[in-house]
Symmetry: C2
Subunit: 209 residues, 2 copies
DNA sequence: TTTGGAGTTACGGTTATCCACAATGTTGTT
DNA sequence: AACAACATTGTGGATAACCGTAACTCCAAA
């Protein structure tokens, strides 16, 4: 495994202090920094979208359960990978949360090596997700800088329509389409329609304007 | 739920005849056709890639277990969705197979409605997958019809390179590039480089030639 | 009222694409 | 040897893309 960057942290949430301590110790011994909270509520008050790394959450806690926390974080559009811990072998819940996108589900008592590996996997996954997100974010920023007319012309360009056709359909001069087209390329940071189409398709963006 | 097309079938694999009968009856009452086998081995001898629908497999059977069947089907590149049944609440196995791509994991005794719904979901998913697969297959057929030189030119086209540049880099006449380019468009069924780039990117195809 | 962004358009020109028709050389198969 | 597929190139022309420069209008914010 690669050494963990200091920017990624394991966020531990469990109402059993002994478990938190054991986890902290385990992860520290692997070079993984961690922070811990004794309840989902406490974590939520501290939560910020800047946090990066992964969550390790006991599914059964006083007050808000791990499942409820999961839902709440989804509402906040939090995409941090979550590893659930359970001491009760609740299979149906495991299946449910995994299908909803939880990263992993581990029974207590857990194997130390396995847990640490999962945490590392989750952190790695989160970093990859974050990188993808930045790419996508940059593109969306560029898209937002387009005027609505430019977006409309762009949508037609990537459908393969020629300037002449676009001009006819929008009842404007071809030269105008050319001007918009040029602006679109400049703002989107590409040099051709091909590059533009590839950029958008690779990021799953369909322009409807 | 939409009525189940007769082409999709639930394939039931369980060494307990009573379970098979109960499942068959349940599914038939919902209009879902099914076939059943008493062992993974028996299913494998009958298996064909033409089968469409979903599998419902008891995880613990005499001889080959459900998990082993899962692996075996993966080797055969079978993409049928699999719903596992278990009577023993084996959480760690549930987590494992779900992360490997199993469709669902249901504890016995199961709720009839729930199981039938899952089977329908799985069948629907399989049909969608099959549709996507056909699209992708058609594109790959077209890609295979390209000569290696044409693939090389195509790779450069979708990078946004101009004919002139391509000609220079390959030390051939521009006219030759034009000829290849024209063939590529014709064989791939598109009318412009933009359509080609979109087609490939949307299907996650990166051309390296 | 002034300023500025957005949308629009024209002129004149360069470059690139696309195409029909025609042809040559190479390679591998039958 | 004969044939087919492939890669190659040419001529000449129609069509489209691209660009710099320069306006004009509309509209909203300062």
């Amino acid at each position: 495994m690669t050494p963990t960057p200091c920017s990624s942290v394991a966020f531990l949430i469990d109402d059993d202090e002994a478990v938190r301590d054991a986890l902290s110790w385990l992860l520290r011994s692997r070079g993984i920094p961690s922070r811990d909270w004794s309840s989902a509520e406490a974590f939520l008050t501290d939560y910020s979208p800047q946090m990066q790394g992964c969550l390790v959450v006991d599914i059964r806690m006083q007050g808000m359960t791990g499942l409820e926390l999961f839902d709440r974080l989804r509402d906040l559009e939090c995409r941090l990978p979550i590893i659930f811990l359970t001491g009760h072998g609740e299979l149906s819940k495991a299946v449910q949360v995994l299908k909803q996108g939880a990263f992993d589900f581990i029974e207590k008592p857990f194997n130390d090596n396995e847990l640490a590996d999962r945490v590392l996997e989750a952190i790695t996954w989160d970093e990859a997700r974050r990188t993808r997100g930045q790419q996508s974010h940059a593109i969306h920023n560029r898209l937002r800088s387009l005027t609505s007319r430019e977006k409309e012309i762009m949508a037609r360009i990537i459908k393969g329509q020629m300037n002449k056709i676009i001009a006819d359909e929008l009842n404007i001069a071809m030269r105008t389409v050319e001007a918009h087209r040029s602006h679109v390329f400049e703002k989107m940071g590409v040099k051709s329609a091909v590059e533009l189409a590839t950029l958008l398709a690779e990021n799953g963006i369909s322009v409807s304007f």
